[in-house]
Symmetry: C2
Subunit: 326 residues, 2 copies
């Protein structure tokens, strides 16, 4: 079913306010979840909201905490997230990175002790809206086996790269696993094969059987050994630059996914000068003979947003009922 955007947002705010969260924080968090569902990222919109509420109740997310500065090194800064809501910390950090980029051409902010940022693409979009190139990445709890291994030791550590563009920003928002576990569960429930291989079964065979992958816990990193290496270096960068917890430390502590490390980079760019160049690159990419429509990263999101604003935001009825009952 579809729900008007404002209704969805108001419902999230109602639940948060009932937890004695102040108006400003409740409004900002509610907006993030509503925006994510509006843009088609349901897994980190409505569907994630009950978990966020649970984390607040468990003290893993501290709603009124704010980040504090740890260290300044020129165009790089380190911050402590103090376990505040990950979305608010992330937004704050990208804003700081933009300020640093405004002064230095490039700015980098690393944050430790933060929480799940929900949808990484939001902060790429934030940079692009401000006219800056945005890059960011986060570590996570271990949920992917390293190449050669059979047990989860790496995170699916999303990487976001956004480029401002008139008529629709280019926003790559890419986890290192071929499929999110949410997607695997969805295919499992529907009993449908994955479109491309998404992991290994217990016998070590590459498979499109989502249920077998969920059972083995052997989800596939993109590009096999390549994604495995990329996940490791993103975790190293996030950990070293922030001085925070690594995927290893988060996982070994035995806690839920909280207290993660993230990096935000903004780069100044000449948008007027770039406009034609970007459109030329996209046009060339789309000029290939195609079996399916060729889209740039972020293009489909814009269509979903438009549809959501016109027709209402799609919600899973069961989940919507659950949130209304919170």
């Amino acid at each position: 079913m579809r729900i008007p955007y404002q209704q969805l947002r108001a419902e999230f705010k109602r639940v948060l306010t009932a937890l004695n969260i102040n108006d400003e924080v409740a409004e900002a968090c509610a907006a993030t979840f509503a925006d994510n569902s509006r843009d088609g990222v349901y897994s980190h919109g409505l569907n994630r909201f009950p978990t966020f509420v649970e984390y607040i109740k468990e003290g893993l997310v501290i709603p009124h905490a704010t980040p504090t500065q740890v260290k300044i090194m020129g165009a790089i800064e380190q911050w402590d997230g103090n376990l505040a809501p990950g979305m608010l910390n992330a937004k704050f950090c990208m804003n700081r990175a933009i300020d640093l980029a405004n002064d230095n051409g490039i700015g980098c902010v690393a944050i430790k002790n933060t929480n799940h940022w929900m949808r990484g693409g939001s902060y790429g979009l934030q940079a692009a809206e401000a006219g800056y190139i945005g890059l960011c990445f986060t570590n996570t709890i271990a949920n992917l086996p390293p190449w050669g291994g059979t047990e989860p030791r790496l995170g699916n550590n999303p990487l976001v790269i956004a480029i401002p563009r008139k008529g629709g920003h280019v926003v790559l928002d890419m986890a290192i696993s071929q499929y999110a576990f949410g997607k695997l569960w969805q295919y499992e429930a529907q009993g449908k094969p994955l479109p491309v291989p998404g992991g290994y079964d217990k016998q070590g065979n590459l498979t499109t059987d989502a249920a077998a992958i969920v059972e083995s816990k052997r989800a596939l990193p993109i590009g096999f050994w390549k994604g495995s290496g990329l996940s490791l270096v993103l975790d190293l960068l996030a950990t070293l630059l922030s001085g925070g917890d690594s995927t290893a430390a988060i996982t070994q502590a035995g806690r839920k996914e909280s207290g993660v490390s993230q990096v935000f980079i903004a780069i100044k760019t000449d948008n007027d000068k770039n406009a034609a160049m970007i459109d030329e690159i996209i046009a060339y990419t789309k000029s290939s003979e195609a079996d399916e429509e060729i889209l740039f990263p972020g293009e489909n999101m814009l269509r979903t947003r438009e549809q959501s604003l016109k027709q209402g935001v799609w919600v899973d009825e069961e989940m919507w009922g659950k949130v209304k009952g919170l």
Copy 2:
């Protein structure tokens, strides 16, 4: 067969000197090719050397050119590579990025009109040797279809991320294609199936048949749609930051792969403080139950280097004969 490292390097220098290239440039270029073969990157060591010589003869690589500064914007600089040898331009740029990082915490150098850097990992290693985190990427000629498409419109745009580490730097050197074409040709020649699917055949079926992929020109980006998006954004970044040619422009000009755009980023880091954290992350990654040995990116390269220095550098006999005849 195996050849002593110094002999290989001297042979490259002999060929370059015979082209009236001055001693300093000949020595630096020869060292790059010898180092690449020494470290096991044969495709961009000995095996690529004849093509490099050909590019010099065709005027695509201008041996005595040097980069010139175009623009300074704080911790970001733009340079023009003036079609100098790509390896020398790349080394120069990473050095500049390190200088900028030394002053600003982070430094970014973008270069246009440069040439193939051969092995991207070299410049990651260069940063790591200097004690800095190094990131770099390049665009290339179109050699990968975008997701949904069947004709090459994207480059395999390598991405390099290196982290300094005592006892062996972590160096991810990753092209966006699952397999380099050199690797596909090798499997085709041997008639062996690829270890994992590497592209599509002419009928659009995902395949491990290297010959079928070479025929269809439909090599696979890592992670299917994800690598396709990553390749596009890396090209956008390289093009916009350098003001140089995109994969589209390089390919549409109908020229060989010359005049590419590249980006080099260096980040200051506290190596003494990091040492234990890096080793903890690597140890945790390796602690998984495993079917094969779990290696960090760059680990195997160090073993190959050690073996090459002890037993001589492996060379393809036919290629070695070809270079001796140049």
